[in-house]
Symmetry: C2
Subunit: 350 residues, 2 copies
Amino acid sequence: MDPVGIMRDKGQNLGVGLTKNTTTVADVARQANVSPITVSRVIRGVGPVSEETRERVLKAIKQIGYVPNHIAGALASARSDLVGVVLPSVSNIVFADVLRGLHDGLTEGLRAVVSISDYSLETEERLVRSLLALRPAAVVLTGCEHTDSTVAMLSRAGIMVVEIMDTDGAALDVAIGMSSRRAGEESAIHLLQRGYRQFGYVGHDASPRDFRAWRRRTSFLATIRSAGATFLGEEIVHERSSVPAGRRALKQLLEAHPDVEVVYFSNDDMAIGGVFHCQAEGLSSERPLGIFGFNGLDIGQAMPKPLSTILTHRYEIGLRTGRAIVTAIEGGDVEKSTDVGFKLIEGATA
Amino acid sequence: MDPVGIMRDKGQNLGVGLTKNTTTVADVARQANVSPITVSRVIRGVGPVSEETRERVLKAIKQIGYVPNHIAGALASARSDLVGVVLPSVSNIVFADVLRGLHDGLTEGLRAVVSISDYSLETEERLVRSLLALRPAAVVLTGCEHTDSTVAMLSRAGIMVVEIMDTDGAALDVAIGMSSRRAGEESAIHLLQRGYRQFGYVGHDASPRDFRAWRRRTSFLATIRSAGATFLGEEIVHERSSVPAGRRALKQLLEAHPDVEVVYFSNDDMAIGGVFHCQAEGLSSERPLGIFGFNGLDIGQAMPKPLSTILTHRYEIGLRTGRAIVTAIEGGDVEKSTDVGFKLIEGATA
DNA sequence: TTGAAAGCGCTAACAT
DNA sequence: ATGTTAGCGCTTTCAA
């Protein structure tokens, strides 16, 4: 209930030589009886500094509680320790995994500035424009679809761009991910091999567009059709993917198309909702409806009947992205495109 | 397979007036026949600028594809548009929700720099030290436990600090969250009212420490004990919380203490694992074991028997945090402590 | 091994 | 309404 004064004592006394409480390299230098540049060298650990002065400077830093200003450093050196990251969502555990991997992969004091595009390319463009103002060391985007302006801005900026998750398109610079097309295809082939002939699909449509889910659906459908199987119909919920949405959608689908033998879901969240619908309706025994997901979330594998799905390597994508950025900054070469693959989990639901 | 040259044409030609491909306000100014400061005023939308010059400047910006440099701006104005955020984890959907809320709450071009402490106060200290080098507009920390050094650094920096999730402790500056203590207590009261007398607990211990889960457990135990109920025992997995971990842990607990009537779980992930264990063992009918969670994840509510749990307002915590930061930056007053509360969901598992 | 000078790109303060 | 001047705090370059 107490209103509180923020930014107390910023000490920005711009008057006549009054105290500013922001200590600088100059303060440290004075304390240690060296020049500012020597302090800078000690902090960055570059250049020749005698052990004796080094210790003197370090002591001075401790004494006056100096905290380096990377903003000033970045301006002077034209080198940034920020990595701009645009993810379509963080609520989806998939991108949370990517982010965790990215953090583990980024070293050398690199830090991620995370923005969320909500699956909109226009939002992505806005976010990239704004991120570029930070002159980041690299930019990480999700997927290979971007507006022309986004591409133009990035190419003019001349910084490293990593497109993650998706290796189906032509990489702007570096791509690290997997092929959605092949994932859809392999899912279809597996289900065909299991003898299914009557297919259904349950999908979501996140805000504007989840391109990768759509590409999986497209190649899945193409594969079952070219095998002569029947696609009975689909139910698409116009909201972000979730367990409850999957449950509702499967109910809808089964009402419209009671004869489906197996349903391909846009991802595990949706598929788990499907499993719950079957459990709730007691469908499991009298009518073994096949359910197939995508991602291989651990929750799906912890269910009494583990979910049949495709395991994706989200953490690894993030990790490799971080490492690729570090490598590039250190002057190393980075693969143009890295496919981390995926793994089909047979499970017990299809 | 193509090694690719990153940072191509950085254009850092430091020679005699050769082309640098970084355009600056000066370039725009030249193009528009005004002074740099006028360009700056147009970009920031402050100060008096005639409509005519404004348009001329805007046109020039478009023409030469100028991208502002916020790093330089931040240095000159001693104002940053970065908000440092330290979360214990992002894999946990709870913090992903917080992050989403935070993004929605932050406006005015404020951007989050996210770091992950992995539930370690020492890591948090390191991350805060490193974040302060960016001179952020505010720092968001999780929980009210911090090392002394962390507290000292932050107070010296004199910037806004928001401690989220937890309002049990004394806020350093601003706290937005809920009371873990009361959550544990209310869970216990509810289960006692339902007639349960033989209690068990299944918990996790994330890396070093999940303080809030532990506080829930402590107040839960205190409450059932003071009501004269029996605490039969507990099973703690020494890993981060997850559905599979919950499933395994419940199995263990029931083997050691076959007489428990109801189990309080450290959170919904663990509790859902418990439900899956019961389903897999066919325990649901022959022996209706009570299961109670924490968080109110939508997956728990989409299960055939919705999980009994406490709904927390993660998104709102993030949203309010973002808004509080914006308010403070704009000079407004912010509540010292905001309790967003929680809501008990009766569900069908306890 | 150390330092002096210059400037990164922008904006606050003070003119005009 | 616009411009001039003088830095922000650091690091580069070049000299000692």
